[in-house]
């Protein structure tokens, strides 16, 4: 059957079997390989994408369920070659080592900051508790989200003042 999804702002269509998982639509049909498959059993969050702004595990949703909806993947974060503030934060604070979990971490963090621009450390750890990282020990990921929160706040204060 045909499925049409807005991916990173662009309308994309593909002919798919209903059993095709969203992550495979993204990786194999649309060649957006930034979304990773880690566990394939709904446990690790490496495959996290945003569906209408909400983090979901794309290994646990059929592509046909996303018909008519908006999907954001890690490829959609940087606008015109400029890193998104959350990407900058992970770079500045060394929030990644191998990078496998990073696309999911970035998207879950972005969704958190949109909902709660000034989260406590506890709130950050809670919001990211569905995303596993085998490398960093999480501390630098928490630092990266805090860095981004400060940056976004000072940016918006600066815009407000000008």
């Amino acid at each position: 059957m045909k499925v049409t999804v807005t991916v990173n702002g662009q309308e994309r269509s593909a002919e798919v079997e209903p059993r095709l998982l969203l992550v495979h639509l993204l990786r194999e049909k649309l060649r957006l390989t930034g979304t990773h498959v880690g566990c394939d059993t709904t446990s690790c969050g490496a495959c996290t994408v945003l569906l209408d702004g909400t983090p979901v595990k794309s290994c646990t949703m059929f592509a046909v369920q996303a018909e008519g909806r908006e999907v954001t993947t890690v490829e959609g974060l940087a606008a015109a070659g400029t890193l998104h503030p959350i990407q900058e934060g992970f770079k500045e604070e060394h929030g990644l080592q191998c990078g496998f979990c990073t696309p999911g971490m970035l998207l879950a963090s972005k969704a958190l900051l949109e909902e709660n621009p000034d989260p406590t450390e506890e709130e950050i750890r809670w919001a990211l508790s569905g995303n596993l990282c085998r490398c960093t020990g999480y501390q630098n990921i928490v630092n990266a989200v805090q860095w981004t929160a400060r940056k976004l706040q000072s940016d918006s204060a600066a815009t407000g003042a000008s």
Binding site: T48, A108, G130
Partner: protein, 287 residues
Amino acid sequence: MYPASFEYVAPATLEEALETLGRYEDDAKVLAGGQSLIPLMKLRFAAPRAVVDINRLPGLDTLAAGDGGLRIGALVRHKTCEKSELLGGRWGTLGAAAPLISDPIIRNLGTVCGSLAHADPQGDWGSALLAMDAEVVARGPDGSRTIPLPELFEGPFVTSLAPTEIITEARVPDPGPAAGGTYLKLERKVGDFATVGVAVHLAMDDGRVGKAGIALTAVGPTNLRATAAEEALAGSDLSDEVIAEAARLAAEAAQPYSDTRGTADYKRTVVRVFTERGLRTVREGMA
């Protein structure tokens, strides 16, 4: 992992959804949050001929309290319950359970009614809602019927729902303003199922316990009500002695088994400790 092939139907109305289920007789599955069904299909433990996606049905996302008590529509997500300010006070058992279910990303999609239909004895909603005397409303080809949870849960992953029925909502009777509750869960890590969970609900009547609900997760073939413990609490003054006795009776009602999460003895002890701790917490919260 790829599920077996199936036909996908995303009906726009409940009537159409019921008609589709009827057409496939017992070989179609309702898809709500998909957070249990899709993992099962990927492992090919489930291979339905058709999947009926109810996510586009209107009017099933109500979470509201009114004269008839609390209504939780079939598309109310775990996350909606976690964030809802409504689920404190008299509905506190539910508010305490919501943030302990799975992990934050699964909670964005998973539904309360889907959990009940899935009937996993390790599921948390089953206990929280049993303790509060909930029932589900099931719509089938011949109309609606209500099913109290003890009659819904027949065994591990087995319910009394017909394959052609859809749960449209769960209903929880209003226990009145002098009520409260909590849910305690022991888990090895976020996203793990309960090693043990205990739901506690108390409705007070003139300073004494009017009605008590105690239900247990992961220590039996279904979520279990600890009836003897509830009876020991009803009419009592909630003294330390009554609480200790109720906790002992709850542990006795548990039917734990040893597995990777712990031995049967250990789990029984956790039931006792959690029942006692939960009852004390609720007593203090209402003081």
